[in-house]
Amino acid sequence: MKTNIGKIVGINGNMITVAFEDAIAQNEVGYAVAGDEKLMCEVVRIRGTLADMQVFEDTTGLRAGSDVEFSGDMLSVDLGPGLLTQIYDGLQNPLPRLAEMCGFFLKRGTYLPALLDDLKWEFTPKVKVGDTVTAGETLGTVPEGIFEHCIMVPFSCQGTYQVESIIKAGTYTIKETIATIKDESGNTRDVTMTQRWPVKVPIKCYTERLRPVDPLVTQVRIVDTFFPVARGGTFCVPGPFGAGKTVLQQITSRYANADIVIIAACGERAGEVVETLREFPELEDPRTGKSLMDRTVIICNTSSMPVAAREASVYTGITIAEYYRQMGLNVLLLADSTSRWAQALRETSGRLEEIPGEEAFPAYLESVIASFYERGGLVRLKNDKEGSVTIGGTVSPAGGNFDEPVTQGTLKVVGAFHGLSRERSDARRYPAIDPLESWTKYTSVVPREQVEAARSLLSEGTEIGQMMKVVGEEGTSIEDFVLYLKSEYLDSVYLQQDAFHDVDAATPADRQIHVFSTISQILFTDMDFGDQAEARRFFHQITQTSKDWNRTEMGSDDFTKTEKKLLDMISEVTKDA
């Protein structure tokens, strides 16, 4: 077949206009030729015989009249064993191998295979000749780190197939045919360990979608207790800069109770990704004892890397997440930040001279965001196992104002909202999730009544605090004042958490249940104080003791001792019945 070739007729920033003759498809990938470099680009609009294409690279040096080679495929990723532990850019180029080849700087037009061809995998067949299979069903497995990686019938197969041949157990590379399958009309198809899948199309090889119920424990107290996230759910973390979005995501990526974590660093600082990719190999996954990197894939398209690839990066991330979900695993995708992705859409839309919507974002922004978050979910697979993709996206609203299109478009489609506030971060109350503004639709790890009671105490305490600013402490009754101190106490010893302390950084679910019930008990004890100064002094004391308690290992002597000390202190001020 001869290659379909077009000619560049216009260049404006990263957008090129290409005249073509043979048929091309929307979202088809092409390569613009600049000297000996070939720059990847994607069709975003077709008008008559002209196609507008966004180039995933810097366009310096392209000429009008140069060739564009169309590939015939949509933007796709390679799926197969070896994805875990990798660090990719938005187009699934492995960055460490790129560094070996090109040195310190990224070199445009250099594309490397995502998976290593020469690596051998220990294959164990799970079907026999004559078996009937459909897309997404397992043909065999290979061990990949701590997981059994399923080699599945390609997702693009439609209808039922019969296994014609299956290779015997042994070590093979990803390029070798491991099975041949035949469809109903007798066409055969060779299956290798890898398959390609277009990133913008959801993988739908499951029997049904289920409602997410079980909590995904992140070990962040304010999240799990007050604003939990479910396995297969979606959540968003909007906040002004400096409020701690990224630290919160880093903590989540470390401690969350998921099998696989995919970090899509989309248009954010390179330094933050570097922290993750240098530290994760050193850190131990508390659940498996192996390196955290073994369960992680990093997609990294930082702010100074080409804008068009930024959009691709979130799709690359979600596609890899869906692939592992198909094996019955629980995957957590963290996208930081979806606002940068929206801005990439805005830049593209502006170059296409589309009619702008609110704040010059394109009119289709909300539907694009919605269909992205809808790719998360809990599903029942064809083999009756369950798999899930949980999506957490940060949003960076302009000016920290949540009334902007990206935040609003996101809030409509997520199940939990962790709004970060500037006031809390200025007061160093981390994590700066606003306990009054945030909400969730999922179930907490602690009993619901306790949470409800604590939340209403928080809001009453805040009201009293506001009131005190007007009427002063002397104008506040001792009962109200104690209530205010209690809410401050809850805030400083439970909602706030020291992300940089070994023990305090992560609180497992059982500890949360235990500690929260003790604290609830304290909160709803009637206390007797002579005056406000005495009350304040007492709360200073129990705050300090409780903070010490948070810093002791659960189950240790210190833990029990401190708890007892705390309860003793409380009983001293308890009002006699």
Partner: protein
């Protein structure tokens, strides 16, 4: 041999367009007309219509001007001969020295492969407690100084430049007042730092296009020094002028504005400059400090807002002091764990108490009775502002930490600070004696 074109079709703002073929995107051209000559760069190609941005501005360009394409993109000379020199944003000498033409390097090159970066690990000591103790500056950090026009941000930049231990200082002026340029030059000269400094200065009266070129030129040079294993500090002032120059050009190019007239790619444009800050695996580093004036003292203005999302923290300069609220060094956690064990605790405790002081101040101004606790806070706040926040204070980190403990001990009981018991025992001045007495 390059073809010469004689017929300019359109002139709008600083952009001229001609009909030409076989032109590269971003290629340079020379525009010669009877009123002088200037370089220009291809910024748009549509069929055989080519739009060129004229660096010196299109003023005086005649429709019969000669346009000659040079077949190359923008480059800057790089060698040690740059040190001690001053150039314009368009990289022509601003001092009376010779023009340099050797070893030309590309500007606006590709970004660094994240896999080749390393986690920043070296503190940059400045002798300013508000930075060293509370928001430690780290090598390879990119940090803006947010300030209203009129705040002494240039003085602060100059002071950090002189006190920080770096090998090379690069000053990038954008829309700089001529007086400020002379201030930088004289200050650096007096302290003997000029010989390790390169300046690229675009002053407010220079052509606007050069304002956009200045950071690219400066950072390209910084990158080369860093690759030679040098620790480079880049001072940029003022990034708001840079953004305004982009706005001006985008609007004349009839681009759809996104927010308050700024182009939709403001974030990406700023990011591609700031992200040049780097700590190379096996080579030097680039640290960027950039002044960003906030029009109307409004941090939600698009320029400071987008900047805040890109940079690794920010310093707020208000009333000549670095404001503790809002000011943040994101990288401080990388280094302040290894300085002294009480560093982080002092940092957090003092700020929390200062926040309480601010609340008390509010109560006081509304005429409420001051409780005993309030009086303690008032005493503390006053000392904190005087002995820590004042920018004239110049003491090393360790002394500043000791001072912090002293202030706390003079104002509070140990447990009122909320510091956990172990540190109190080790660091609270005269704690043992106090414990005996009570």
């Amino acid at each position: 041999m390059h073809k010469v074109y004689h017929r300019i079709d359109n002139i709008a703002g600083n952009v001229v367009s001609i009909k030409a073929d076989d032109v590269q995107y971003k290629e340079l051209a020379e525009v010669v007309s009877r009123n002088g000559s200037s370089l220009a760069q291809v910024i748009k190609i549509n069929g055989d219509d080519v739009a060129l941005q004229v660096f010196a501005g299109a003023r005086g360009v005649a429709t019969d001007a000669q346009v000659r394409f040079l077949g190359k993109t923008m480059k800057v000379p790089f060698s040690d001969a740059l040190l001690g020199r001053v150039f314009t944003g368009g990289r022509d000498p601003r001092d009376n020295g010779p023009a340099l033409t050797e070893n030309m390097i590309d500007i606006g090159g590709p970004s660094v492969n994240p896999a080749k970066r390393i986690i920043p690990r070296n503190m940059v000591r400045t002798g300013i407690p508000m930075i060293d103790v509370f928001n430690t500056l780290v090598e390879s950090q990119k940090l803006p100084i947010f300030a209203r026009a009129g705040e002494p941000y240039n003085q602060l930049l100059a002071r950090i430049a002189l006190q920080a231990e770096v090998d090379i200082i690069i000053l990038c002026g954008m829309g700089l007042k001529h007086d400020d340029y002379l201030y930088f030059r004289d200050t650096l000269e007096e302290s003997g730092a000029l010989s390790r400094t390169v300046m690229f200065v675009h002053t407010a009266s220079d052509p606007i296009v050069e304002c956009i070129l200045a950071p690219d030129v400066a950072l390209a040079v910084a990158e080369q020094f860093a690759l030679q294993d040098k620790r480079v500090l880049v001072l940029m002032t003022d990034m708001t002028n840079f953004a305004d120059a982009m706005k001006e050009i985008a609007i004349t190019m009839e681009q759809i504005p996104s927010n308050r007239g700024y182009p939709g790619d403001l974030y990406s444009q700023l990011a591609s400059r700031y992200e040049k800050a780097v700590d190379f695996d096996t080579a030097g580093s680039i640290t960027i400090l950039a002044a960003t004036t906030m029009p109307g003292d409004d941090v939600t203005h698009p320029v400071p807002d987008n900047t805040g999302y890109i940079t690794e923290g920010q310093f707020y300069l208000r009333n000549g002091r670095i404001e503790p609220f809002g000011s943040l060094s994101r990288l401080k956690q990388q280094v302040n764990g290894d300085t002294r064990e009480d560093h982080r605790t002092i940092m957090n405790t003092m700020i929390q108490l200062y926040a309480n002081f601010k609340e008390t101040l509010e109560k006081q101004s509304m005429g409420f009775r001051m409780s005993k606790w309030d009086s303690k806070l008032l005493k503390y706040g006053e000392r904190f502002e005087k002995e820590m926040m004042d920018l004239t204070v110049n003491i090393p980190l360790e002394e500043a930490l000791d001072l912090g403990w002293q202030i706390l001990a003079d104002c509070f009981e140990p447990m009122e600070t909320g510091i956990h018991s172990k540190l109190i025992e080790d660091f609270w001045p005269n704690y043992a004696e106090q414990a005996k007495r009570s």
